[in-house]
């Protein structure tokens, strides 16, 4: 797992607003962070890169093997499939989560008492571990003993995790259920930062609620959307625990993403060289995405705050 950590860190950092850390003379304060990042981010990454050019079964000696692992991995149709699954998960979970998170976030930004109460409730899924969530859903969705059978409701007794399309849909649903609270929280904070004067002015000009939402709220949330999307997209690259417990990549390989493919190849198939090649691919994809989202952020000097 260490192998996949760095891109997340990089991604998250890259997306955090710019400018604050560029003050110059306090650069030395970054040293502790740099040391930690070097020891636990860069160094393992180099190890992974080295191992990807070897053949190793995880037990015996490590044999340098040049490009053997890379050739095996790149010619394996399983890689393309795993990449495809990874991107599909990324795209659909983003597509489902973003609009819902924004809407819930905007809703929760209101200061009414009942909204604050609901905000606390919405937060609960985030407190559960992915493994626990997967086990709970697995039990609920069991076609023979699950919710459908228990309530005598045949519509719920689908082969939820055994059918290729359904299993993928269920996965997206659970991921969204788990992470929408987190992203809602981000949007809630961001919406509260929007100066009330903007809305007052809009109201005076006769703008309705929907017009206000699209003309004020959405543009003001631009950077929040980028931050939240970066977290979602780069985070979804490394989905492992939930899928591992829920479907183990199945049925067949319908939900086997890159992270799972890496684990199975390395720790179940004993092909550490190939698994490390997958890890390198994962790092590169993560870095590319993080950079892409940074680009999307545009010029950092543009401020959203009042008076700028």
């Amino acid at each position: 797992m260490t192998a996949v950590a760095p891109p997340v860190v990089t991604g998250a950092r890259a997306a955090i607003p710019q400018g604050a850390g560029r003050s110059g003379p306090v650069a030395w304060m970054a040293i502790p962070a740099l040391v930690l990042f070097g020891a636990f981010g860069i160094l393992p990454l180099l190890g992974v890169l080295f191992l990807s050019f070897t053949q190793w079964d995880g037990i015996g000696a490590i044999h340098p093997a040049g490009l053997t692992s890379w050739r095996a991995e790149l010619s394996d149709p399983g890689l393309l499939h795993a990449l495809w699954v990874t991107f599909k998960i990324m795209f659909f979970s983003w597509l489902v989560q973003t609009p819902l998170s924004i809407l819930i976030g905007v809703f929760l930004a209101g200061h009414q008492r009942y909204r604050e109460f609901l905000a606390a409730l919405f937060f609960i899924p985030l407190l559960l571990s992915s493994a626990a969530i997967a086990i709970a859903y697995k039990a609920l969705l069991d076609p023979n003993f699950g919710l459908g059978a228990g309530l005598g409701f045949p519509l719920l007794s689908q082969d939820w995790l055994g059918d290729t399309t359904l299993a993928f849909g269920v996965l997206i649903f659970i991921v969204s259920w788990q992470f929408i609270p987190f992203h809602s929280l981000i949007y809630q904070g961001a919406v509260r930062q929007i100066p009330a004067s903007l809305y007052e002015a809009a109201q005076l000009d006769g703008a309705g609620r929907i017009r206000q939402f699209f003309s004020i709220t959405m543009p003001q949330l631009k950077y929040t959307i980028i931050t939240s999307s970066t977290l979602m997209v780069v985070g979804s690259l490394t989905f492992f625990d939930l899928i591992f417990v829920l479907t183990a990549g199945g049925p067949a390989d319908a939900t086997r993403n890159l992270a799972l493919d890496m684990y199975i190849t390395g720790f179940q198939g004993n092909q550490m060289g190939t698994a490390n090649a997958i890890a390198v691919i994962l790092v590169l994809v993560g870095l590319a995405l993080a950079l892409l989202f940074r680009r999307l952020g545009g010029d950092a000097s543009e401020s959203q705050l009042e008076g700028a």
Partner: protein, 454 residues
């Protein structure tokens, strides 16, 4: 990479899945196993010069039997104590590999034999026990001969066959059979007829925990052995190129897909895991009429199935012939786990190795331990142990297992354990796809041929 062991029986609740996942995630850190010296000696430091370490699987009832053997050994040998560390099944598999790779393994390595053992041997991690067996011929003599295959690599014995023998059994629910008015199958044609009859009666024909993958594999093992005998897989095992291209393999794969297409397996089988025992539950509750599964499931069905076992509703037999007229395989052949395997680390100190060997000679599978295994509903792999079986239903089942194991002309080790981990993973992956109908038999054969000998 087969998680199948007798400890499966202990996965009584869904909650058992939690440590599985947690352990997998903790694979790069410490997974927090429970560790103890059986004598309250205060840690390994107090255990003396001959101190040995022993890692094994947790999960009742096997765990208690293993612990008890160590306790008795330590009480009798104050000079050479054995310290134990227990691991949950899936956590152990990752941990032992990593530990051996880092030279941090235990003195006594608990294992499954076969391809996994071979990878330890290739890395020079385990001690050759051939000479030990030559010096202790009685130890060799008293065990089932079939148990040594999976302990032998390149003609040398690297592990002590221990614990219990667990063949795969064809189970059927007598209550459901009576209700539908049918008899147990005697051929593949019978099976296909039964599938139609059960489906039209609204009962699923076969239970299957398909997400675990090795559960599906048991079907292939039996079909291929019945159709073509043990030679075909033997060639794969020996790494002969294109061994999967034998026409019997295609026949076997086609039959499996026919069965899937005929709705032979319970709805949702590909999302059922064997760890949760849901595959057993659909069988003993009568939602499915038949099941091909390991002998180790008997205890769970007895404990959880109400009067299913005690009321005599559980039927069991060896897997039927495919076509008695043309089968090349012997109908007495069986597949499964011929035993569990204890190896000694080659990196351990000589004194620790001596302690381990003493443990092997004096305590493993002694009378007390055998009684405990029998009491737990299992058959220790010791000749003549059938004289100790209790009378009644359990005794009948134990006798059946004993006879299947002792009389099998060929007791094949599960494929995924016999093969190297790399081949096993490809095998299991393609088997899952086969049952999902997402590969054709021809693709399956070429995918598997590609990894022979790897």
């Amino acid at each position: 990479m087969d998680p199948r062991t007798t400890s499966r029986r202990s996965f009584l609740s869904l909650a058992a899945g939690l440590p599985v996942a947690g352990a997998a995630l903790a694979a790069c850190g410490s997974s927090g196993p429970s560790s103890s010296t059986a004598q309250g000696g205060g840690g390994s430091a107090a255990a003396g010069a001959g101190a040995a370490t022993y890692w094994f699987l947790s999960g009742q009832p096997q765990q208690a039997i293993r612990e008890d053997s160590i306790k008795r050994f330590n009480a009798a040998n104050p000079g050479g104590q054995i310290t134990t560390t227990e691991f949950q099944n899936d956590a152990y598999k990752t941990k032992i590999k990593t530990a051996l790779g880092a030279g941090q393994g235990p003195t006594i390595i608990w294992g499954w034999g076969g391809g996994g053992l071979k990878s330890y041997v290739d890395a020079g991690q385990v001690e050759d026990l051939t000479s030990w067996f030559d010096q202790n011929p009685a130890q060799k003599e008293r065990r089932f001969p079939s148990s040594f295959g999976a302990a032998t690599v390149n003609g040398k014995v690297y592990a002590l066959p221990a614990e219990t023998v667990t063949p795969i059994i064809f189970y059927y629910n007598k209550k459901v059979f009576d209700k539908v008015g049918v008899q147990p199958p005697k051929s593949w044609a019978d099976i296909m007829t039964l599938v139609d009859k059960f489906n039209s009666a609204g009962v699923a024909p076969f239970s299957l925990g398909g997400q675990s993958r090795w559960t599906n594999m048991m079907w292939l093992e039996f079909l291929l052995d019945r159709i073509a005998g043990s030679e075909v897989f033997q060639k794969v095992f020996e790494g002969k190129p294109d061994s999967w291209s034998d026409p019997a393999v295609k026949d076997m794969l086609t039959k499996v897909q026919d069965l899937v297409k005929a709705n032979g397996f319970i709805k949702g089988f590909s999302s059922i895991t064997a760890d949760s025992n849901a595959d057993l539950a659909v069988f003993y509750t009568g939602r499915a009429a038949m099941m091909v599964h390991g002998a180790w499931t008997y205890g769970t069905m007895k404990a959880n199935g109400g009067d299913f076992v005690s009321g005599g509703h559980l039927g069991y037999m060896n897997f039927p012939p495919v076509d008695p007229a043309t089968d090349k395989g012997d109908p007495s052949d069986t597949v499964g786990n011929p035993g569990q395997y204890y190896s000694i680390s080659s990196k351990a100190s000589d004194a620790a190795k001596e302690t381990a060997k003493k443990f092997f000679a004096t305590t493993v599978l002694d009378d007390t331990e055998n009684k405990a295994w029998i009491g737990s509903g299992s058959v220790p792999l010791v000749k003549g142990v059938d004289s100790q079986f209790p009378p009644g239903g359990d005794g009948d089942f134990l006798k059946f297992i004993y006879n299947v194991s002792a009389n099998a002309k060929n007791f094949a080790q599960s494929w995924d354990q016999a093969l190297s981990p790399t081949q096993a993973e490809t095998l299991l992956d393609n088997i899952a796809k086969l049952f999902q109908l997402s590969v054709t038999p021809d693709q399956w054969i070429s995918n598997l041929n590609a990894v022979i000998g790897k």
